[in-house]
Amino acid sequence: MIRMGLGAISALAIAMGLGFIAPAEAGPTLDKVKQAGAISCGVQTGVAGYAQPDSQGVYTGFNVDICHALSAAVFGDPTKVKFVPLTAQQRFTALQSGEVDLLSNNTTWTLQRDTELGLNFAPVVFYDGQGFMVTKKSGVKSAKELNGATICVAPGTTTELNLADYFRANKMEFKPVVIEKLDELTGAFFSGRCDAYTTDASALAAVRIGRASNPDDYVILPERISKEPLAPVVRHGDEQWFDIVRWVVYALIEAEEKGITQKNLDDMAKSEDPTVKRILGATPGMGKALGLDEKWAFNEVKAVGNYGEIFERNLGMAGPLKLDRGLNNLWTKGGLIYAMPIR
């Protein structure tokens, strides 16, 4: 009896092994998402203004709203999102393996990531630059004075590389303190373990506001030592999903350009402007081209507002960080934010 059972078990094990070997066909992300009924969206573990869970575990922030917009465009409902907090180390494999359907977590667009990591970058949603934060007490006024400094930095980021590049280019020395988890890294800086903390300037502002016991004790130095174009990321090899994410972002920008806001949306839907009509689906065709509902962009703006509104609410004067639009203003207002034509 037992012998037979054993044989059966091995046979079963092999059969199962062989069965699994035929790889499950990689379905297009859109089908998978629709089947699952939710978009799995990779965000940071907690950066004020960008993606931060409240005490109930509900995420809010700029990156979170991008995911809500996508959900609104795909499902007509902004809440069909599952937020997956990821560390810098986990983010790419989480995307590659299909654990998340997009990363919306301040990932910098670089050549190597675009090619060797098998990623595709949607349009840039935030133009940033790397900066340094120091204590006011130290009296440091410029990054050029940081020779010999100990600097707190997160590993596995472009920040870590830019830091080394900057000090090499300026023939200065530094000692990095490298810790992966943000809680411990900022803890190290605020305890005085490091002379400076470096990351994207906007994230510095978030850390200063959200994690310093007295934000006025800290200053962010004026230098921006790198270009940090931050963009949502999708997997390489699924053009349809890539298109959807790309145009979801463009629609948010185009809506701001055309003056479509959450408030005046219903009035604008009756507009005679042919561009507005195309965006909001009054003139059909765009949604079909993307494989979405014709009201995709309408739903987006209804859910989270246009790009400018998302920015103001989370990062700008209405939010905790009080960041200036700067480079992130519309191209018509001297910034870099520019949408491709929706037609």
Binding site: Q112, P155, D165, P176, R235
Partner: protein
Amino acid sequence: MASDTAGALRPKRPPPWHDPAVRGVVFQILFVAAVVAAGGFLVHNTLANLERQNIATGFGFLGREAAFGIGESLILYSPADSYARAFLVGLTNTLYVAALGIVLATILGTVMGLARLSSNWLIAKLAQIYVETFRNIPLALQLFFWWGLLRWSAPAPRQAWQPLADVFVSNRGIVFPVPREDPAHPWMLLALVIGIVGAWAIARWARLRQARTGRPFPSGWAGLALVFGLPLAVFLAAGAPLRLDVPALHGFNFTGGTAVSPEFAALLFGLVIYTGSFIAEIVRAGILAVSWGQSEAALALGLTAWQRMRLVVLPQALRVIVPPMTSQYLSLTKNSSLAVIIGFPDLVSVANTTINQTGQAVEGIAMIMAVYLAISLVISALMNLYNRAVALVER
């Protein structure tokens, strides 16, 4: 006729599916096939996933410029060096902290183990409290605690404590002076090597002489004198060229001298205290395992307490102590990988950064595992050699 009887007597050969040998072979084939199939399945998936997503594979990245900084390093390193060199930095840091940790934990553990057996009630109780406290708290928590203590309690470099002249304690670590390089140093090193060889030779000679004539020789003291005396003699002969590289506050931090960072200090301290509590128990159990009769016999022979310990109890206790000690050394080495949570650039931390920068997780983790396996094998092999030396020689 004859063949007929033989046929009747010979047990009937069982059908192949009831023959244990045949079944064994078949079962093994099936088992191996299942394992290979499962492994092949995983490899196939991985390759397919990497291929589909256009992710680079192979170890080509090792030659590329690492381009990231490493906080502390025993060998020369700059961001312009290759990933391979960065790995080497991580490896030397791991080996350094593990080696130091093993030595210090052994000392602490032995002292505490003996203290638990002390006839002094207070000492025994204190040692017991130490053991029971630190054994039962996760190492990760202890590391965070020591690291926090060093960061938050120590002053900034400008207000550094100065327990000794030219020794500074601040939240950047402990900085102390080191002798500057001198032509006499290589000769002192040579003298040290000669001293060690000499001490070993004397110990051997003394043992042989004692076996032959029964007269003991204070080989321990003679050895010590050789090991420390010879380099000292060379040092004095060279005119005592002691020029210290004295640390001084310069800009943000101390320059000159040698620094022990809070991360390194917390890691070493945590590892030693945690592992020491386990070693104390092993030492105690080992000594208790030597029957009391042995000690009584030694007392009856008129041996002193030290001789009793050294000649009678310890050799027998070591047989019990060495095997579990090996596994403590192994776990200390593996636990040193917790460095990554407090930011000490050990092998795992550097490999972690490499994995993030290159995206080649499979290669990176394979390298970490290979290195730890190799270290484990080396430590096991060394301890096995030692174990053979102390094991009971059956006569």
